[in-house]
């Protein structure tokens, strides 16, 4: 039994998603349609009418991915939402995914809104893999774009090489993350990739931004995910068992703030990291727990090495020990939790199930806490969900079971 002392004042009451598609497959639908399908599914799951939704808590500036925009007014109009009382977004990008639930909490705890939806809809009309190269240049990006670092993976390959240099991390560790995540997707009906990935396939894949190869990159998928958050009290009267928010945090320090795409982090420990350590510290303080109390970890996996660096930043192993830690088999899913191990991305993550900018991790955290996950960790009582590493804010979320 986990004895957290977390906030537990709001809870996730409903979750919903569209099917997950490959890049280009949703071209016949609008962003509003995709987002609306997910919102309706989440409301049905919660047992609330969409007309009673009164808050929207977005992240990534309410962008649908990084190019297009989700429009609150369009959603209100077409879904028949009666009155919107809160509509806000975390700044930054995918780093805010988990933190958006904290934004929903802020609205509810402040008394501004009572049924708050977080939604992400992704279409890749702008290909995310090379989004850096496709953006209009600014005075600040003039110091990055000319180098040909075309996308987020290219940027993070720089952090990765430094981690390998300083700590002796090898590509075997990244392969283990790709392979173990794929293994979790094998049993997932909605996963885009369900065939096991072999070491041979991994090591013969083309390099995209050396040391990152094809399988170190997440999928180029499309789809939408929505989450309904209410007060814990209200959630207890709804259709699903409430999944209380134990702690939520977002932000980042100066060292990381001027780091990502500026690369000025002052020391190796910060440079070769996920920038999530300050988030981890605040989450655990708020929850009154340590990493050892977490039963399942849904780690933002846009690139395999960033999973490894988050495992370090969130305290599942010592700094620099991420390689040996994952190679010991410690992140493999087993139905019974093993001491010292932590099941990671039991849903197949963004590497193998679908990439919807972090939102699928929140869904899996909720299913694990309800006890209904496909790859359920038996008796799991605390789930960690992370957002980022990205331009700040990065974020994290600890979900629990109602007691």
């Amino acid at each position: 039994m986990a004895h957290d002392t977390g906030v537990r004042d709001v809870a996730i009451a409903g979750i919903g998603a569209t099917p997950y598609y490959k890049r280009g497959e949703t071209a016949g639908k609008s962003i509003t349609q995709l987002a609306g399908e997910a919102i309706l599914a989440a409301c049905a799951d919660a047992g609330v009418s969409v007309k009673d939704v009164d808050g929207l808590a977005f992240y990534s500036l309410a962008r649908a991915g990084y190019g297009e925009q989700m429009e609150a007014g369009e959603l209100v109009e077409t879904l028949g939402i009666r009155e919107l009382k809160f509509s806000a977004a975390l700044t930054g990008g995918g780093g805010g995914s988990a933190g958006a639930i904290g934004l929903a909490r802020a609205a509810i705890v402040a008394g501004d809104a009572s049924v708050v939806v977080t939604v992400m809809a992704l279409q890749q009309r702008t290909r995310l893999g090379t989004v850096v190269a496709s953006k209009a240049v600014t005075p600040v990006s003039s110091f990055v774009q000319p180098s040909g670092l075309a996308g987020p993976g290219h940027l993070m390959s720089l952090l990765t090489r430094r981690h390998m240099h300083v700590y002796g991390t090898t590509r075997d560790a990244f392969a283990e993350i790709a392979i173990s995540t794929r293994q979790n997707a094998v049993t997932r009906p909605k996963a885009r990739y369900r065939e096991p990935l072999t070491r041979e396939q991994y090591f013969s894949a083309r390099m995209i931004a050396d040391p990152l190869c094809l399988y170190d990159f997440c999928l180029e998928s499309e789809g939408a995910v929505a989450i309904v958050t209410t007060s814990l009290e209200q959630a207890r009267d709804l259709r699903q068992p409430p999944v209380p928010v134990v702690a939520a945090a977002h932000g980042g320090t100066r060292e990381w703030g001027r780091a990502f795409s500026w690369f000025g982090m002052p020391d190796d420990e910060t440079f070769a990291s996920s920038g999530n350590k300050p988030i981890a510290r605040r989450l655990y303080e708020r929850a009154g727990i340590t990493a050892q109390d977490i039963d399942v970890a849904l780690i933002y996996d846009h690139f395999t090495p960033m999973v490894l660096m988050q495992l370090e930043d969130y305290g599942f192993c010592e700094k620099g020990e991420g390689g040996p830690f994952v190679l010991s088999g410690a992140i493999r899913y087993t139905p019974e939790r093993k001491p010292g191990n932590i099941a990671v991305n039991t849903h197949g993550g963004q590497l193998s199930e679908a990439y919807v900018i972090g939102a699928t991790h929140i869904l899996e955290g909720v299913e694990q806490m309800r006890g209904t996950a496909v790859n359920q960790v038996a008796g799991a009582e605390l789930a960690l969900v992370t957002g980022g590493p990205s331009a700040i804010p990065n974020s994290g979320l600890i979900l629990g079971r109602d007691r």
């Binding site: 110091f143 180098s147 040909g148 670092l149 290219h154 990152l212 000025g264």
Partner: protein, 155 residues
């Protein structure tokens, strides 16, 4: 085909920059083939990219300091292909600047077999033409002669 593919920079027409008052002196100097970095005129701290405030003391006063052009590879990646340029080989790198401690530049190592670049490799600045008449600071492995204009055109 047996000769190693040398890393290059993006072709001039593929690279655009824009400037603002904080960054323009950097680019004006580069156009004169000089590498400069902003140093806080109050506390002496270097910073890159150029920004409006000193992150240490919040001063807006800047001394633009001319650097030696030496650099060291802090980290790098090897990229094969760029949107619209499937055959290009790039070595984007983050470099430390020994005479601007605390400031790093995101740049390219050019003119080398990527296999000859590693963390700690000593570099020397060169300048690569980009759009609108600007020059982009890039780096060569120290001791490697800069190619003539013909080779630069190929890049």
């Amino acid at each position: 085909m047996n000769a190693p593919t040398l890393a290059t920079a993006l072709p001039a027409e593929a690279v655009k920059i824009t400037t603002d008052p904080s960054t323009e002196p950097f680019w004006l100097a580069a156009r004169e083939r000089r590498l400069v970095a902003p140093r806080c005129a109050d506390c002496g701290q270097f910073r890159l990219p150029p920004s409006p405030f000193c992150p240490d003391c919040q001063s807006t006063a800047v001394d633009w300091t001319e650097l030696s052009g030496r650099a060291t590879v802090y980290t790098f990646t090897v990229v094969h292909g760029f949107p619209g340029l499937p055959d290009i080989t790039l070595v984007p790198a983050v470099v430390d600047l020994p005479d601007a401690p605390g400031a790093r530049l995101v740049t390219n190592v050019v003119g080398s077999d990527p296999a000859d670049v590693s963390i700690g490799t000593e570099l020397t600045v060169d300048f690569h033409p980009i759009s609108d008449g600007w020059l982009l600071p890039v780096f060569r492995v120290t001791g490697q002669p800069a190619p003539g204009p013909a080779a630069q055109e190929q890049a």
